[in-house]
């Protein structure tokens, strides 16, 4: 008997009583102003969310937000400040040294500041390796909570996907919070 068959047989043999799935769907908190809540909670997790003003030029805004960024990686149409097309790298390691990555998020979650990014660049490393990460998100795509977010994933195909909430962080030394453990040292979401 293979280990698989043995394990499955053991499981069947040991289950004593079966339990049904709960009949109710999980209920989640709802906010009167999802955008305001998203902005507030983003700050509480060490990130920042800002609203692009009507008529404001996004490339101009990025320049003022990141005056020192030299290597800027993005494959998004309409982003002209980029200096590197991440889809053209041969190996993910070539993204090392990127100052700023600019990517698109698909769903924002008001309860926890999460942004859903289904892999939409050649190498997922782009979400983790830049010193700073900037996510562009359609503000009408903010949902209240994770239940609503996952319900939307049903129709979304992805090979890899990540919910990102704030910059990379650790408190492993004496519980002192330090931002920028391995991933982005700063995370911003521009709501367009």
């Amino acid at each position: 008997m293979s280990s698989k068959d043995e394990i499955l047989a053991n499981i069947r043999q040991h289950i004593r009583q079966t339990y049904d799935l709960p009949g109710i769907r999980p209920r989640g908190i709802c906010y009167p102003d999802k955008i305001a809540q998203f902005i507030e909670v983003s700050r509480s997790v060490g990130g920042e969310a800002i609203l692009l003003q009507e008529g404001e030029d996004i490339n101009q805004r990025i320049r003022t937000l990141y005056p020192e960024a030299r290597t800027i990686a993005s494959n998004l149409p309409g982003i002209s400040v980029q200096t590197l097309n991440p889809d053209e790298v041969e190996t993910p390691a070539q993204l090392n040294g990127t100052d700023l990555g600019i990517v698109r998020g698909e769903i924002g979650v008001a309860e926890n500041g999460c942004v859903w990014i289904p892999q939409n660049v050649k190498e997922k490393a782009l979400y983790f390796i830049p010193e700073y990460l900037l996510i562009l998100l359609d503000k009408t795509k903010i949902v209240n909570n994770m239940h609503e977010a996952y319900a939307q994933l049903q129709t979304c195909a992805y090979d890899f996907g990540v919910f990102l909430s704030g910059p990379s962080k650790t408190a492993d030394i004496e519980q002192a919070l330090v931002v920028g453990a391995h991933g982005a040292k700063g995370l911003r979401v521009i709501l367009v």
């Binding site: 997790v45 996952y150 030394i173």
Partner: protein
């Protein structure tokens, strides 16, 4: 008559300042958890659902596991089944050898601790690099984690500073956490870029989609899996849940319970292997299927490893993770250790005051304290009961069954107030160590009641003073 745990706790408490810090800091984490939980009116409902979904998944585990494996294979992952730790380690070694892996970068996994994977691989010439900061610190120190979420919580910054000075050549006497973390970032970045393979644990396996979900704050699992051509997932069979709706419940509970954050920074969904690379999932039983048949302890399999039961436990906070003999400490560790081997780990069941705080915070509502209580009842039949405690208990039993003797004893009790100190505080009385004996009232409640001295309180407030 002190237990193994009490003796080890004594050593922890010898460093009084550090012990106080440990206690306070973990309580702070517990308070953060409370604040976050209270922001959600549906919190208790979520805990109920989380418990029910796990009970359902566990009692249909054969179905969900098969489904998960089939979907994962359809996604292009290779699925392996390991009956025990040895088989797990052999499978991992085999995969690594096939790919000629010299260096493996790992993100935190309690399961690989359980299987003692690192020493096994190292003995066979494979370099293993832990990438969670806390885990890396301990690996460099050749020490074990003392908490499942905050593995290095028992260390002071100066100890980390000294270690990094020696191993990473950081500045002398610089123990600033920001500085040290940055040094580790540079050091580990190099490891990520040069590793031949990555290994992660799994927080959840989703049967409907065959994807593996990994949650971290540092992003180390993501960095690890982004570069090398091989990703191995080590996953306990109990981690399988039905679908995304279930996942939405657990992702809402996990970080809030663990560290008082609304979500972990990275909640990553690995569905298909990275183009041009391989993904292997090793499903590990190692005693879990047997626990399914243990009705008294089945619920331990619901655990999502958030660590909340440790943070809230008054005994854990004041004794530290190393006071426990099993590698997972605190209330859940006491129970998991007993399931592993009552013979080796029964000393831990004493590390509980039965305050039930763990039951109240556990996001999946495991009856942790009830289980510890049940283990204690079984100690005698396991031949593990403490001889002195047994004699004392027999004495108490005798007294409580005979009210007249008990009352006579109480009448004499105040005389203890006048005994010389050496008669009360001596090595035979373990309870006298570090504790002051209470002053006995001159009269017992029963005597006062008999004499009509007990008055009804004037108002409700009197009770609350």
């Amino acid at each position: 008559m002190s237990s193994q745990h009490a003796k080890a706790a004594r050593r922890f408490l010898d460093n009084n300042e550090q012990a106080q810090w440990h206690n306070r800091t973990l309580w702070m984490v517990r308070e953060k958890r409370d604040r976050l939980a209270m922001q959600l009116p549906e919190w208790e409902e979520l805990r109920n659902l989380a418990s029910q979904i796990k009970m359902h998944s566990l009692s249909h585990l054969d179905y969900y596991l098969s489904r998960f494996a089939a979907r994962a294979e359809a996604n292009g992952a290779l699925v392996h089944w390991a009956k025990d730790a040895d088989e797990h380690n052999a499978i991992v070694l085999n995969i690594l050898n096939e790919h000629k892996v010299k260096k493996l970068v790992k993100s935190k996994s309690m399961l690989t601790e359980e299987c003692h994977l690192n020493p096994f691989l190292e003995a066979r010439g494979i370099e293993v690099v832990e990438s969670d900061l806390g885990e890396r610190i301990l690996q460099l120190m050749q020490a074990a984690p003392s908490h499942i979420v905050m593995p290095a919580i028992h260390l002071k910054r100066q100890e980390v500073g000294k270690l990094f000075e020696e191993k990473l050549h950081t500045e002398k006497d610089n123990s600033d956490p920001g500085y040290l973390t940055h040094a580790a970032r540079l050091h580990l970045r190099n490891e990520f870029l040069t590793a031949d393979a990555a290994m992660t644990g799994a927080n959840f396996g989703v049967a409907e989609t065959g994807e593996v979900v990994v949650c971290t704050n540092e992003g180390n699992a993501d960095m690890g899996t982004s570069f090398p051509p091989l990703h191995i997932v080590s996953m306990g069979i109990e981690k399988v849940i039905p679908d995304h709706q279930a996942l939405s419940v657990y992702t809402r509970l996990l970080a809030r319970s663990a560290t008082g954050q609304p979500a972990t920074t990275y909640t990553s969904h690995y569905r298909k292997p990275r183009p041009g690379s391989g993904m292997h999932i090793v499903l590990v039983d190692n005693g879990r299927s047997r626990t399914l048949g243990n009705e008294e302890h089945l619920q331990t399999l619901k655990c999502i490893r958030c660590g909340a039961c440790m943070n809230t436990c008054p005994v854990y906070r004041r004794s530290g993770g190393y006071a426990y003999t099993y590698f997972i400490p605190g209330p859940i560790g006491i129970n998991l250790g007993m399931l592993r081997s009552p013979d080796r780990y029964s000393g831990n069941v004493a590390a509980c005051s039965l305050c039930y705080s763990c039951n109240l915070v556990c996001p999946v509502r495991i009856d942790l304290a009830d289980q510890i209580y049940r283990w204690r009842q079984q100690l005698d039949s396991l031949g593990k009961a403490d001889r002195v405690k047994k004699i004392v208990s027999a004495g108490m039993n005798y007294l409580f069954m005979r009210p007249s003797v008990y009352n006579q004893g109480l009448r004499l009790a105040p005389s203890v107030n006048h005994l010389p100190r050496f008669m009360i505080y001596n090595p035979l009385n373990a309870w006298g160590i570090g504790r002051e004996f209470p002053v006995f009232a001159k009269e017992s409640f029963t005597r006062m009641w008999e004499k009509g001295k007990v008055k009804k309180p004037q108002n409700k407030d009197a009770y609350e003073q």
